[in-house]
């Protein structure tokens, strides 16, 4: 049985370590915040210029001047600080953020990531994704294993324009977890969703990888 979105988010949350500064992308990655283990203290960063994101506000707490990078209203914590967007991306580009969790359209076996444009469709722009994958120490991708047409999203090479070249460290899909020890290495299949077989994953994956279950 494939993992649900919440289970995928929980698997990503298990990668968080105490004291980490973390940037969560829009969509499923935002769910990661709901699954952080007790005793693990993590500071969430939002690239528009907020460090230390609190939960969504109550109706009474809504403040139009407190939003995250998804333009959602949000709240402060006792650790919160605001900076300019230039200083915020200084944190990101400078390698001061330990982990980012992002969605993807495609990931290639060499770690290339595509998640910002589909030729022929209206292009909305890269936003901060290119900066995040270029600067953050470790990049985890959360995505469905196949697209809506059933095509593999973990591929030999990306067919879509890249967001970053050789930037992905870990892939969590609804079927499996792939990981590599460093960016010179190939991806390893580390874990299968309950009831999913290694052969099923092989059949639904275009990328080359090795099996090395954790």
């Amino acid at each position: 049985m494939p993992w649900t979105r919440d289970e995928m988010a929980a698997l990503a949350a298990a990668e968080l370590q105490d004291g980490f500064y973390v940037n969560l992308g829009i969509g499923i990655p935002t769910l990661v915040a709901n699954h952080i283990a007790p005793g693990i203290d993590v500071t969430l960063q939002s690239e528009n210029g907020m460090l230390g994101l609190g939960p969504f506000p109550t109706e009474a707490e809504v403040d139009a001047d407190i939003i995250n990078a998804g333009k959602q209203t949000i709240t402060e914590l006792d650790r919160t600080s605001y900076v300019s967007s230039a200083d915020s991306f200084g944190m990101i580009r400078g390698g001061h953020i330990q982990l980012s969790v992002l969605g993807a359209m495609e990931v290639a076996e060499n770690g290339d990531l595509a998640n910002w444009m589909v030729p022929g469709k209206m292009v909305k722009g890269p936003g901060g994704a290119m900066d995040l994958v270029a600067g953050v120490q470790r990049i985890i991708v959360l995505m469905d294993h196949v697209d809506k047409q059933g095509a593999a999203k973990f591929r030999r090479g990306c067919t879509l324009p890249l967001t970053g070249a050789n930037v992905v460290d870990m892939i969590i899909t609804n079927l499996a977890i792939f990981e590599r020890p460093d960016r010179q290495s190939a991806f390893l299949l580390r874990r299968l969703a309950p009831g999913v077989t290694a052969q099923e994953v092989r059949d639904l994956t275009e990328a080359e990888y090795e099996e090395a279950f954790a």
Binding site: G49, E59, D65, S84, S85, S88, K124, A134, G164
Partner: protein, 235 residues
Amino acid sequence: MVQKIHPDAPSALAGLLFDGMTIAAGGFGLCGIPETLIQALVDSGTTGITAVSNNAGVDDFGLGKLLRTRQIAKMVSSYVGENKEFERQYLTGELEIEFCPQGTLAERMRAGGAGIPGFYTRTGVGTLIAEGKETKVFDGETFVLERGIVADLAIVKAWKGDPYGNLVFRKSARNFNPMAATCGRVTVAEVEELVAPGELEPDQIHTPGVFVQRLILATHNEKRIEQRTIRKEAQ
């Protein structure tokens, strides 16, 4: 003393506008955008504007207002997703767009304001964004050269401002405003609150008055929210 405070937005923009000009604007999404000055730009009728702004507003708010009137010829932005009129003009070729990763855009505006014509970044290397741009290897790694941006005019929104042009921003409404303020040949600020000289703590001024040539009290402070996300009281 030179009077920086103007009575209204048209007066603050008087003499600064011309067709084909480049205007840098602060704001992220609809947060921290200079609503009053944008309306004055609409009213001015200035056309052929190159707008340097992280986003393009929505159809009837923010820079979307200037798109609707076709006053903008080109956008330099990182993300323009929320705007149907934008999409239409872009697809028909009426509007030019230069996409720039968000952090690179922020840094390009800071660099322009700080007299740095170019800098190298890892962001975008190996992607379409780096195509046609120079690259350089530092310590075995490839970086792309990005250019500083200087605008003819910068418009910014601040929380508080004093007669010297010192500005303080509020929370995540700070975003691109400080860099926009530095990269304008002339910078006009609108503030939610005008305060007396000395009321702003010298250690807490985000944008020193040297960067702000004119300022007004903002009269448009709608502060529209794009994604109103709420949690239940009980949680």
